[in-house]
């Protein structure tokens, strides 16, 4: 059933009266010129209306807690509920970001430990937890690369190399850091085209941004050669850690030769995606980039923890948020890490990879085409519906929408851009075999349906709160707020 807007439930003068001071006189000494004359158009509703409305809205979402969600590159794995509970202990919630040091030792101890765990698991020499999502971690990383070159008087190095399969945040970040972007093509096995890379390297090269395993779901086998070549050319290597789930405990970016990495803790460390965020894009750096880390960072003097700021890190790229990033997200990641331990971290990669390879093998067996057949899947892999598109105009979107009717969230579609009609499928380690098998059956059934009646499939979804939405209209006839 469709749910009215909260504003449509509103009635003038209604209030959730328990939620505001029982009485509150107007301020007496603010001159009229500063005051607003109108009343903001917030809804006027009762507490129950709010609870009912948003509870009902919540039921209109797919989520990990309700559905298998094989969204490639997004690592939709189980978010342990203890992480939420323990990050929301009353003292943690009440802690002011500028609290005195003696009222901060408990929190700082958690952050310090987390820095150490992340250093250990990535093989990096320093960690700053402050970036608030992957993209901000990327910003921090490229800004540090820039700062490094500048600190050496190397002012011409403004070019960032980005493989064409890269996530959109990579080129966007490079630009935001005042760099230019140069795309590097991918070879037919999904690896970076080494020749093209060599051709691109030069005195303007600031660095390269790589995801490994790449967003094509394969491990970049020539990573050592790439690292060597980039370093020889005077550039640094940036590791986009969105895919860290594939290699956690198996191979470390630091050991592969990367100078800086961001981690999506909301992926690998299982903090929830929250319907779009918040995340955390903690960065790890090699020795030479340590002086440039974004502040604040947690340090330890004797048995006292304290914030390190511009006084401790005078070459820092600076501050990326008002305080220290998404503290509550970091607490969740810390709790998760403690519950995993070193063996658990290794198992993350092992079972994420097992699930992906199993699902890939089963789908291949059922006749679906793999984008990189013959390669191992990492934690994810790509199916291409190119053949199905040619045959019946059956597209990745059609598969995605119809999967919703079968009770599965769609895989990532049309990313990476270079594989036509692609489905980027990431089952994660938290799903069991039976779920993967049922998903295979659903994909097979949908393709059978398409062969029998393509229009039916193109009409999907049928079981969701709405049928397929008109995105073109949304963009052309902008309706971005309710006006009554």
């Amino acid at each position: 059933m469709s749910e009215a807007l909260i504003f449509e439930l509103s009635s003038p003068g209604r209030r959730a009266a328990a939620q505001a001071p029982v009485e509150a006189a107007a301020p007496t000494a603010i001159p009229a010129e500063f005051l607003r004359q109108d009343i903001p158009g917030l809804p006027e509703v009762s507490e129950m209306q709010v609870v009912r409305h948003y509870t009902r809205l919540s039921q209109k979402n797919f989520s990990i807690d309700t559905h298998f969600y094989p969204l490639g590159s997004c690592t939709m794995k189980y978010n342990p509920r203890a992480c939420n509970t323990l990050a929301m202990l009353p003292e943690f919630l009440a802690r002011h970001p500028l609290a005195t040091q003696d009222h901060s030792q408990g929190y700082l101890a958690c952050m310090y430990d987390l820095q150490e765990i992340l250093k250990s698991v990535t093989g990096m020499k320093g960690v700053s937890l402050t970036p608030m999502a992957g993209a901000q971690g990327e910003f921090a990383g490229v800004a540090m690369i820039r700062a490094y070159h500048l600190s050496r008087g190397d002012t011409e190095r403004t070019e960032i190399l980005v493989p064409d399969a890269a996530h959109g945040t990579n080129p966007a970040t490079a630009i935001q850091c005042g760099c230019t972007v140069r795309e590097i093509p991918t070879d037919k096995n999904g690896d970076v085209d080494l020749e093209a890379l060599e051709a691109a390297l030069g005195p303007k090269t600031a660095g390269i941004m790589l995801t490994n395993p790449s967003t094509l779901g394969v491990f970049e086998r020539k990573i050592e050669i790439i690292a060597k070549k980039v370093h020889e050319a005077g550039g640094l290597l940036y590791y986009d850690g969105a895919n860290l789930n594939a290699i956690l405990g198996k191979v470390r970016p630091g050991d592969m030769g990367f100078d800086v990495i961001h981690m999506n803790l909301h992926k690998t460390f299982s903090t929830p995606h929250g319907g779009g965020g918040p995340g955390s894009g903690a960065v790890g750096v090699s020795e030479r980039l340590r002086p440039f880390m974004p502040i604040p960072v947690v340090g330890k003097d004797g048995d006292q923890y304290r914030w390190l700021d511009e006084n401790d890190l005078p070459q820092s790229i600076g501050r990326l948020s008002a305080f220290m990033g998404n503290a509550g997200v970091l607490l969740r990641a810390y709790v998760y890490a403690l519950m995993l331990g070193p063996d658990g971290m290794t198992r993350v990669a092992e079972f994420a990879t097992l699930n992906a390879n199993y699902l890939m093998a089963r789908l291949k067996d059922k006749g679906f085409d793999l984008a990189f057949d013959g390669r191992r899947a990492t934690h994810e892999f790509i199916v291409t519906l190119k053949k199905q598109k040619q045959e019946l105009e059956f597209t990745a979107t059609d598969m995605a929408k119809r999967l919703l009717d079968y009770g599965y969230h769609a895989p990532t579609i049309y990313f990476p851009l270079l594989v036509p009609e692609c489905l980027l499928i990431e089952p994660t380690e938290s799903e069991d075999q039976a779920t993967l098998d049922a998903f295979v059956e659903a994909m097979v059934a949908i393709w059978d349906e398409a062969k029998a009646d393509i229009d039916k499939v193109k009409g999907a979804p049928y079981t969701q709160p709405v049928r397929r939405l008109d995105d073109v209209r949304a963009a052309r006839q902008l309706d971005l707020r309710w006006t009554g």
Partner: protein
Amino acid sequence: MPFIPHTEAEVSRMLAAIGANSIEDLFDEIPENLKVKSFDNIPARRSEMEVSRLMHERAETDGQPLCFIGAGAYEHHIPAAVWQIATRGEFYSAYTPYQAEASQGTLQLIYEYQTMMCSLTGMDVSNASLYDGASGLAEAVLMAARANRKVKEHRVLMPASVHPYYRACAKAICDAQGFEFISIDFDSSTGTTLLESLKAYEGQAISSLVIPQPNFFGQLEAVDQLTDWAHAQGALVIGVVNPVALALLKAPGQWGAQGADIVCGDGQPLGAPLSSGGPYYGFMCCKQQHVRQMPGRIVGRTVDLEGKVGYTLTLQAREQHIRRAKATSNICTNQGLVVTASTIHMSLLGAEGLRRVASACWHNTRKLVDALTSIDGVEAVFSGAGFHEAVIRLPKPAADVIDALSKRDILAGLDLRAHYPDLGDALLVCVTETKSDADIARYVDELKAVLGA
């Protein structure tokens, strides 16, 4: 194996289907020499019970001192319903609503949120959130430069009465793109930006002027005059506001003759706990004509195949996943869950509830300031109207006073010396509706004791 469902029998069956002998085989494309042999520094796994115990101990170490610090993060009452609903699995564990049909809950909620923010700020358009207030200000500065096509120079007037960390953050983020921030001094008696201090920049090419309301000191800026001045110079106006204060204060859309062009700030006071500084969220609103320069996600209302109303992400051509290097920002993951909480919070408060909260904050702050300034040697630094923060000057080193009160379980305020050495032993204090008269009295008494007054 925590959080992994596989049994040994399943693993064998799965490996057989893959045609691999062991899980290790699946990693055979990784060069052997690169493989991790062992970890240091990662503690052995603990059960949920053990971790729970540790975290409780850590939390207790920090305690819950009586807090009179504001400075960009404010303690407000958050209705119990807010996070109980926001942490429902369907909100908590969903991804970004790219598959619109399977995400109508989140999408409709964001559309409602956008509506609420527009009404609070008096603007036309709101996005679905940025990371926080400080980084949001940076994005606003970048956006203003894109939107203000007539001005090529990346020159921004930044009052010193803007939160120091916001200024630092804007600088860190905009630096690489060659932005020049010109600091504008505040008047030492009112703590606000005087029109006179801007005169020097008249006729110069200015991309934007940032106006904080209330400003970092809690003082109210002459927003109308400042806005009109900026517009007369061809500069865009970026308002940085406290959303709770907007229940009382003139909406930025009404500042001066034309209103602010871009409004940003931190959404934390609208339902996010202090939580050591995050997750909060940056809100951003703008006038209709600038919508295509907006960073971040935006939800639009549309219809489905059958004409039924639905919600979807729109104007995605601004975003990195479509436009890549030409995107308005690199932001991808935002602060969705906090926006969810905040939307519920605003619905529960409503305009009248928010007004009462804001009024109570105002009255409580007056009470504290009046009581403190009646102590010998303690004085208010600025005169003029303010909201729920104030700067007071102490007769003893502020750092010592803060330390002494901290030991008595009171966070006395923020020492301003690092940021404004000229102000002397100045303390920025804040009192929200969460403080009772007894709390205020306790602060005053303890301060007296510490000062020996």
